[in-house]
Amino acid sequence: MMDLLQSIESSGFSQWVKQSGSLWAFPGILLAHTYGMAVLVGIIAGIDLRILGLMPAVPLAPLRRLMPLVWVAFWVNAVTGTMLLAADATSKMRNLDFGIKMAFIVLAVITQRVIQKRVFGDPDLDRQPFSSNAKMLAVASLVCWLGAITAGRLLAYVGNPGGL
């Protein structure tokens, strides 16, 4: 396993990401990851807060149209995240904080699928107040994304920071 990670880390691509000094390499990939985070977490959190009762005048049903944008952002971050992981595979894979971040993201994505099915799939959406189940889901989603951001940001400080 370690050999595999080692060989990924010493590949030409990983070396370019880590050491080329090009603004397109590490800084650019991380920038795309940040924009992706802002769109992904931002829109999802907006929807969660709406479920929790903020901004009552905003109808929720039309916001479903933002979901493709959310998933584009998700895949941008999956790809850029994999690139960043490849550049620092050996230490990230041994970093507990990285595991925590991944766990939060898996939980957040599952919560999101459930919200899409239960809340957006409800034919009475926008016609009656949200059930406490829906509210629980919204809270869970907020907590998971907040956890993912926190764990992600802390990757720069805990363990063996490979970059910034």
């Binding site: 769109v39 977490v41 959190a45 907006g46 109808p59 916001l63 940001r153 802390l154 400080y157």
Partner: protein
């Protein structure tokens, strides 16, 4: 012109008129509006408070860059002979207080304008609160400006004036009764009084002169705790998500996406965005006060502040344009607000870009 603006000291000397002179105008406007019950004037006053608060950020940060310029970057560089370090520090602390109050004034002014449109009337507590904050801002900012004047007009600094007067008294006594004063000075140049003050400040370095000023103590608190920087960074990212999503959803609606959502509905989202901005303002200022040298003279930081100011102008435009916010479901807004909406997205993408690039193009972390 570009040459001048690239030296942040010039920028500071230019910008320092905004929180002082322009603020007096805004405050006068606001007070007159309160007496006349003139709502239009009052809205303009609130919008001015908001924008001046935005400019104050640039004024504060450029001041730190101006200090760095004065002190020089070389290991042996020192302040010009007519500048006293304590004068800079007193000005810095006064400016920090004034900036905090100014930002509060700006925040509640914005909130007032927002509520005015959403609830159709201003809540009763907003007017007195903004008035009190504005007056406090005015008083503290005047003090900061007054102390700022002491940095280059050393001849009005009380301790220098006192020494100069003492010297002149000796000279006077000597002229009237020659020989009455031992070691009487031949003349009293201002520089002698300045050197005297500087020497006594350095002599007392171990004592109170060695005590860092308030801004530095706040900064030391930020960098002195290992958990502080990561925590602030995390909050900065959470604030960024809040701000960015509101910018996206609201402006995409104004641009015609999600037309089925009425504009007054997305208007309800604005406080979340402003709260995100407030979180980032506080955390960002703490980064800045923590390690100013990372940002002074860093071109990306300079541009970040410029884009934030543009963002402030953009918000001010939207706060004063009422009709766009009344657009119902299925309707388009007119060209003006659409252009402003598109520029808002561009502006905040640029702010995020500049912030992100601080460590890579500049030297911040």
């Amino acid at each position: 012109m570009i040459e001048l603006l690239s030296n942040t000291s010039h920028v500071h000397l230019l910008l320092n008129h905004v929180p002082t002179t322009a603020f007096v105008v805004a405050l006068a406007l606001y007070v007159v509006a309160l007496f006349n019950g003139n709502d239009v004037l009052k809205k303009i006053g609130l919008a001015m408070f908001f924008f001046i608060a935005a400019v104050t950020l640039a004024t504060y940060t450029s001041g730190s860059a101006a200090e760095a310029w004065l002190r020089g970057t070389g290991p042996k560089s020192e302040l010009p002979p007519n500048v006293i370090s304590a004068a800079i520090h007193e000005h810095e602390d006064a400016a920090l207080w004034a900036t905090v109050l100014m930002e509060l004034t700006g925040f509640f002014s914005w909130l007032g304008l927002w509520q005015w449109k959403s609830v159709r009337r201003l809540p009763a507590w907003n007017t007195p609160l903004v008035l009190v904050l504005a007056v406090l801002s005015f008083v503290t900012m005047s003090r900061a400006a007054f102390l700022g004047g002491h940095i280059h007009h050393i001849e009005i600094r009380p301790d220098v004036v006192e020494r100069h007067k003492a010297c002149e008294a000796l000279l006077d006594a000597e002229t009237k009764h020659p020989g009455s004063v031992p070691n009487a000075p031949e003349n009293c140049p201002w520089q002698a009084a300045v050197d005297d003050v500087r020497a006594s400040a350095e002599g007392g370095e171990a004592g109170d002169a060695g005590m860092p000023n308030m801004a530095r103590r706040v900064g030391d608190f930020v960098i002195g705790h290992t958990w502080m920087w990561p925590t602030l960074e995390t909050l900065h990212f959470v604030g960024l998500c809040m701000l960015f999503t509101v910018v996206l959803i609201v402006n995409l609606r104004l641009l015609g996406l999600l037309k089925i959502v009425p504009v007054p509905a997305v208007y309800q989202m604005l406080p979340i965005g402003m709260l995100g901005f407030a979180v980032n303002l506080v955390t960002g200022m703490l980064f800045f006060i923590g390690i100013p040298s990372q940002y002074n003279g860093n071109p990306v930081f300079y541009w970040k502040v410029v884009f934030i100011l543009l963002g402030g102008l953009n918000v001010m435009y939207f706060m004063l344009v009422d009709y766009a916010w009344r657009t119902e479901s299925g309707r388009d807004v007119s060209a003006g607000p659409k252009i402003a909406a598109a520029s808002a997205i561009v502006i905040w993408v640029c702010v995020l870009y500049c912030g992100h690039m601080l460590p890579f193009i500049g030297n911040a972390f």
